[in-house]
């Protein structure tokens, strides 16, 4: 009997195998779906309810009171946090071509072409510092108690920071501490959406529309309901991501291809673009689609009583502005790194000085064409030493109260030990902000005609091509 059963089973298996194996072999191969992007998303474990843990530890008088309690359990958190740019506001030292010594860059020690620099203006700028009490050059960066846990972990939406990064008056620190959680859009957005001092001012691709964005504005945060930290994955308080205003390398950078396959377009013609064109170039067709962002800031007109004030055009303390929304970004070769104007670098007042020129060109195979918001402006420089000057704007003797450039520049220069000749003027600068957030839904991606043909938004010759590569060939083409 056992024999019979074996014959049955073997017979069936062999017969089916003879039929199924060739059939399956010849069945049409479905186009394999590209790697599932969802697999790369971090899981968000349910956050422990801290109400009972914190309840009896309050009330809290100051921010550091809260931090001390946090650190009782989360012993390493402060030291982890203190190793990151959110605390130091400064990069690690880099060796840079043409400079003798390694340099560090960041808000802490360099300039931009918005409010120019935090030095001598600490208390006004550091309300966004993830720490408490930074109001002078002497700030103690080693004091763990000054780490501000709540800025990133508040879930109540009632935690507000004020001058020098201290909690604003009226914040119920106990309530906030009881309700800590993983960082939400609100935590990141309260500083990053307001870069430059107000909603949408600085970036052009980060503003308060991202709290509740439509799919057309941001497909990740809209349609797919992402958190910032879904892409800016965070380990040991080190938030991934790099921006060329702060960083000079690409370590820990985020890329679309971290989740998306490199060859996910059905159309081969599009896939071959990826050697030279960044995803963002086509998938972020316009920047600042909803809220206008600052494109131009001319400090030279500041302090003039005869110009009428208007938040988005002229403020006496700041000068003249131009805001734009829904604009076409500027396109540059970009290999992920940038040059950086450092305090004390001589400049040519006749030329536009780039604060952070993106690096890469048509011959750099690691570079792609990338979209940027370019913020242009005029800011003060020393006409004798030919370098940009750091004005003191906030506080006693600052420009915003005295409207005296000479005084403001003198005070600012003293704070950073720079010689100031007493002669100043204003020179043009530009600063590049990579347009990388607010990825629109795929049905809005650029089609061929936006870059190729008569209506091209690309200046092909400026990018180093002989002409439109649809006719003249791309950079890897034999035609070049």
């Amino acid at each position: 009997m056992r024999n019979k059963k074996r014959v049955w089973i073997i017979g069936i298996i062999v017969t089916l195998a003879v039929i199924l194996i060739p059939t399956i072999y010849f069945l049409p191969k479905e186009n394999k779906r590209s790697d599932d992007p969802w697999e790369n998303l971090p899981l968000h474990p349910v956050h422990t309810d801290h109400t009972a843990i914190i309840e009896d530890r309050g009330p809290f008088e100051t921010g550091p009171d809260v931090t001390r309690v946090c650190l009782e359990c989360h012993e390493n958190s402060a030291s982890e946090m203190m190793a990151t740019a959110h605390w130091t506001w400064e990069s690690k030292p880099y060796d840079i071509e043409g400079r003798d010594e390694p340099v560090t860059v960041g808000k802490k020690n360099q300039m931009n072409n918005f409010c120019i620099g935090i030095q001598s203006n600490w208390s006004g700028c550091t309300s966004c510092h993830a720490g408490y009490g930074w109001d002078s050059a002497d700030y103690d960066f080693s004091n763990e108690q000054n780490v501000d846990c709540l800025a990133c972990h508040d879930t109540t939406g009632t935690y507000v920071k004020s001058t020098s990064g201290l909690p604003a008056e009226g914040v119920d620190l106990l309530d906030v501490a009881k309700n800590v959680g993983i960082p939400s859009r609100e935590n990141c957005g309260s500083c990053h959406f307001k870069g430059g001092g107000g909603n949408a001012v600085k970036h052009g691709d980060l503003d308060e529309t991202l709290y509740y964005p439509p799919d057309r504005v941001d497909v990740h945060m809209g349609k797919h309901d992402f958190l910032c930290t879904d892409c800016h994955k965070t380990e040991a308080h080190l938030v991934s991501g790099r921006s060329i205003s702060v960083s000079l390398d690409t370590e820990n950078q985020i890329a679309c291809t971290d989740c998306h396959s490199e060859e996910l377009h059905e159309d081969e013609r599009i896939n071959v673009h990826l050697d030279s064109v960044a995803c963002q170039t086509c998938h972020i067709p316009e920047a600042a689609t909803r809220d206008a962002t600052k494109m131009y800031w001319d400090w030279s007109t500041a302090g003039n009583d005869s110009i009428e004030e208007s938040t988005h055009e002229y403020l006496k303390i700041k000068g003249s502005f131009v805001y734009e929304s829904d604009f076409v970004p500027e396109y540059r070769w970009y290999n992920g790194t940038a040059d950086r104007y450092l305090i004390g670098d001589t400049m040519n007042p006749e030329e536009v000085t780039s604060m952070n020129l993106p690096l890469g060109d048509i011959n750099d195979t690691t570079a792609r064409i990338f979209p940027f918001k370019v913020h242009r402006g005029k800011q003060p420089y020393d006409t004798v030493y030919n370098y940009f000057l750091q004005p003191k704007t906030v506080g006693e003797g600052g420009f915003w109260t005295e409207f005296d450039w000479d005084l403001a520049l003198r005070l600012g220069s003293e704070e950073i030990d720079m010689a100031y000749s007493g002669e100043y003027d204003f020179a043009e600068t530009e600063m590049f902000w990579p347009t990388t957030h607010m990825v629109a839904s795929a049905d809005q991606a650029l089609t061929c005609g936006y870059c190729h043909g008569d209506e091209s938004r690309m200046d092909w010759e400026a990018l180093g091509y002989y002409g439109d590569p649809i006719d003249w060939g791309g950079r890897f083409s034999a035609k070049r």
Binding site: F26, C448, E455
Partner: protein, 916 residues
């Protein structure tokens, strides 16, 4: 020579040229008013403007500079100074428009009694209605001058706008009082009156229309309509700054010319024809991705676009400004080629353009793939053929010698790597044009019907539009339409299904030599003082509101018909009657990329197959009228025109008449009915037989038979049997799904087809091995009946099944390893193995071979014969299996036969005579 990149430069150039003109004017004025003044501003530099085309003087008809004479520009003299204008004009079907191919009325392929050429000049356009009257017609509709006035704006000049039908210059034509070339019809009296060709001049071929950006066709049209023929080409330049219009006069703007009286370089904007140039006549071209494209439904000024609804634009549908249904989901572009920056001339190039020309395979020696010998660019520029590469569109009959000269889809696109997913790729590609799947839908609207049996108060036909809902205008919801797929005989000899729009026209004809009733006469019957005549209103105005709406303005009763006939007869028109015709318009543009193309097998391979999807021809038919297809086109109409219960006319294509048998969609009903009854019959038969056996079993318990255990089937025999069983069952099931996919929606059609093919191959290989085994082992003799007493044995066996089995008798044929089959089985298996199986195999291979060796398949009947035949045999196989399985139960126990085929051992009856 110029390429797309220069377009933007040219528009820049235009801006600068206007600026320059303004600056020059300003300088002129200011220097006239006062000496000195500001130094002239720096001349704007536009070095990239039309960089290679030299500047030139504009010459008039006599070869003199227009600045001297103030005369209209002569393109033939101006452009002809360098380019061989005469060659160009005589090698241009655009210009000739059929003039060289004029035939006596009624002898064109269209067989219309009033058509006189295969071209635009002489072929009736039912949408425009007016027609060039054949020579000799007493009641003329359009004479030659009137044709130019009316249709000249759709014609680039030259040909019939310069020469008479006998080949003389129109300006030199001898006057004849009844000639339809030297007279026009007086609008009031209907009488012929002399046309002064000398005064009007003629319309020479207009180079500017295609070779400058933004030619002014409106001004040209105005000049033509006014009969100012000689100024028409000059009018095209209005807006460029070269010429200006003051009052009725054109004056040359001296600021646009140098001291040598040549055009200032900045005004030389000569270019290769760009899409908008072609679009002036050929339909809506929109070459800007950002400005929303706008067109209301069936907009009459878009007279070419609305014949099909094709819109040439690189814009996404969702970004357009049109009121499209489900617009937000339509992320495709209007035209994939426009999206990818192709231009009209990339496919429709001048046939001797050295950049594009490639010798067709018909005349090219086989050893050559590419012939590098070409015209020099200079030679080409002197004599550029203005015969442009074109396809096989049904609506276009002019210049048949250049039909199918353009590169087709597969000349640029490889289907090798891209269509591997498509089973039977070659078969599909041989039967279907690429457009059949890649233009699944037109998203805009198109015309469906023109009813000229009635006219509105502006003298226009009652029209119907497809793909649009609601009243015409910006509120129209554009739902688009799916074109009908019609077999078309292409010039290369292939016949393929191609998407088409069909436009139906109804109109009055009169006379023995049939002619459409001239519009003038229709107006006389219908209208009086710019409104409807009282008797018309009385007959047509059903709701008596003093107006005729769409539901009233149609000939839907004998009374209305009689009234119009009476009116027409009163005008002297003999035997007025309603005719109808249907014109096909081929669709080749608005191609979709793979994502938007048809790629679901069941779109076609199902009962509601797309291939026979009908299209509405007309929402109604005027009473007593029939419409037929215009003869002479290359489209095959073997489908059916039918009327639904609401009176709307439809056309349903019948691709099966084109040797197309669409698996899953086509069936031969009697075969399925016969097969099903055979199958049911066998089941009933064995059911009855089995029932009787059970009954008999209890009534006459069978006598105990002695059995002995015999090793009946070797391992191999059992293996090949069960493999064959599994294969046949799978083949039957998959075959059933392929035959009727609608009932098995769980299965993917293409997967089922592949499974069917693979399993069929396994079956064939298995059969071959098995045959070898039987031959080699000598087992074949099992199947060979012993001739001696064969019929008696069959009879005995048959009688046993009919009688003995019920009585519990022993089997008449002894079963042992050397005699596994009884004679009846031998016959049955021989039939199956020698007849059914080979037939099924051969038909199957031939069906599969429709892809590999279509000629053989077609020679043996083609799919329409082979496929139903294959189905029939499948039914017989299914019936056989039922019978076969049933007969296995007739052993000494019902399951003994099956069991022995599994483990090889059978308990065979030991017959008495053996025991003796």
């Amino acid at each position: 020579m110029m390429s797309s990149k220069n377009k933007s430069k040219i528009s820049r150039l235009r801006f600068f040229s206007l600026l320059l003109a303004a600056v020059f004017l300003l300088i002129g004025v200011s220097s006239a008013l006062a000496e000195g003044g500001d130094p002239p501003p720096e001349e704007p530099k536009t070095p990239e403007s039309s960089p290679l085309h030299p500047t030139f003087p504009l010459l008039d008809e006599n070869g003199e500079n227009v600045l001297d004479t103030g005369n209209p520009v002569s393109t033939m003299n101006t452009c002809g100074a360098c380019h061989d204008a005469e060659f160009i004009e005589t090698h241009s079907y655009h210009a000739n428009a059929g003039l060289d191919d004029m035939v006596p009325a009624g002898e064109t392929p269209t067989e219309r009694a009033w058509d006189t050429s295969p071209g635009f000049f002489g072929t009736w356009n039912p949408i425009a209605y007016r027609y060039l009257s054949p020579a000799g017609d007493e009641r003329a509709d359009l004479t030659t001058p009137e044709w130019i006035m009316l249709f000249g704006s759709r014609h680039p000049g030259g040909g019939p706008a310069v020469y008479s039908q006998s080949g003389e210059m129109l300006t030199e034509l001898a006057y004849s009082a009844n000639s339809l070339e030297s007279n026009i019809v007086n609008a009031e009296t209907g009488e012929l009156e002399k046309w002064d060709w000398e005064k009007s001049g003629v319309v020479k071929m207009n180079c500017f229309l295609c070779h400058i950006p933004e030619p002014n066709n409106d001004a040209r049209k105005a000049a033509l309509t006014n009969g100012d023929f000689k100024w028409a080409n000059t009018a095209t330049l209005l807006g460029t700054g070269i010429v200006e219009e003051a009052g009725d006069e054109f004056t040359w703007n001296e600021a646009a010319f140098t001291q040598e009286k040549e055009l200032v370089q900045e005004f030389v904007a000569i270019q290769d024809p760009e899409d908008p140039n072609c679009g002036v006549c050929h339909g809506l071209v929109h070459d800007n991705v950002e400005d929303p494209l706008v067109m209301d439904g069936c907009s009459p000024e878009r007279w070419t676009t609305i014949t099909t609804g094709q819109i040439i634009s690189s814009q996404r549908l969702s970004d357009s400004g049109m009121n499209l249904a489900d617009k937000e989901t339509l992320s495709r572009t209007w035209d994939a080629h426009a999206e990818r920056q192709l231009e009209c001339t990339d496919c429709h190039y001048a046939l001797n353009n050295p950049l594009y020309y490639q010798e067709g395979s018909a005349t090219r020696p086989e050893h050559l793939i590419f012939d590098p010998r070409r015209l020099e660019v200079g030679e080409y520029l002197e004599k550029p053929l203005h015969q442009f590469a074109r396809g096989d569109s049904a609506q276009s009959m002019v210049s048949p010698n250049v039909k199918d000269t353009m590169r087709t889809c597969v000349d640029c696109h490889s289907t090798e790597s891209t269509h591997d997913w498509l089973p039977y790729k070659d078969r599909h590609i041989n039967a279907l044009s690429c457009e059949s799947c890649h233009i699944p839908k037109l998203y805009s609207s198109a015309n469906e019907q023109y009813d000229w049996t009635v006219i509105d108060i502006n003298g226009n036909a009652q029209t119907q539009c497809r793909g649009a809902e609601g009243d015409p205008g910006v509120n129209t919801l554009l739902t688009g339409y799916e074109p009908v797929l019609l077999p078309r005989e292409n010039a290369d000899g292939s016949t393929k299904l191609v998407p088409h729009n069909l436009i139906t026209t109804w109109f009055w004809v009169y006379g023995e030599d049939e002619r459409p009733v001239p519009l003038r006469d229709l107006k006389l019957v219908y209208l009086e003082n710019d409104s409807y005549a009282p008797d018309i209103l009385a007959a047509f105005d059903a709701n008596a509101d003093g107006m005729l709406d769409d539901s009233e303005l149609l000939i839907d009763s004998e009374e209305k018909s009689a009234l119009i006939i009476k009116g027409l007869e009163a005008l002297g028109l003999d035997n007025p009657r309603i005719a109808g015709e249907i014109q096909p318009y081929s669709i080749h543009h608005d191609v979709a990329t793979s994502e938007w193309a048809t790629n679901d097998c069941q779109t076609c391979h199902s009962q509601n197959t797309r291939l026979t999807q009908e299209i509405e021809l007309s929402g109604y038919s005027p009473i007593g009228a029939k419409a037929d297809f215009v003869p002479g086109s290359n489209v095959v109409f073997d489908g059916e025109i039918y009327e639904n219960e609401d009176g709307a006319l439809f056309y349903k294509p019948a691709p099966d008449k084109e040797n197309l048998y669409i698996l899953g969609a086509d069936k031969v009903n009697w075969i399925d009915a016969f097969g099903l009854w055979a199958f049911i019959g066998v089941i009933l038969g064995v059911g009855l037989h089995g029932g009787l056996r059970i009954y008999a079993h209890y009534k006459n318990p069978p006598h105990e038979t002695k059995t002995k255990r015999v090793y009946m089937y070797s391992v191999y025999e059992r293996f090949w049997h069960w493999l064959q069983t599994a294969a046949i069952v799978i083949l039957l099931i998959t075959g059933m799904i392929i035959h009727n996919p609608d009932s098995y929606i769980l299965f993917k059609f293409s997967g089922v087809v592949i499974t069917h093919n693979v399993v069929a191959t396994i079956l064939a290989v298995n059969a071959a091995f098995s045959l070898f085994y039987h031959l080699a082992s000598g087992e074949i003799k099992q199947y060979i009946p012993e001739p001696k007493g064969f019929f008696n044995q069959i009879l005995t066996q048959g009688t046993y099944y009919m009688k003995g089995i019920f009585k519990g008798e022993e089997h008449p044929t002894e079963k042992d390893p050397e005699h596994k089959l009884n004679p009846l089985q031998q016959v049955t298996y021989d039939m199956i193995l020698n007849v059914l199986l080979p037939l099924q195999g051969i038909t199957g291979i031939l069906i599969w071979g429709a892809q590999r060796f279509p000629n053989l398949t077609n020679a043996l009947g083609g799919l329409p014969f082979l496929a139903p035949f294959h189905t029939l045999i499948a039914w017989l196989f299914a019936s056989f299996i039922v019978m076969h399985v049933y007969l296995t139960t007739t052993g000494h126990t019902p399951l003994a036969g099956i069991a022995s085929m599994i483990h090889g051992w059978d308990d065979v009856e030991v017959h008495n005579h053996d025991a003796e």
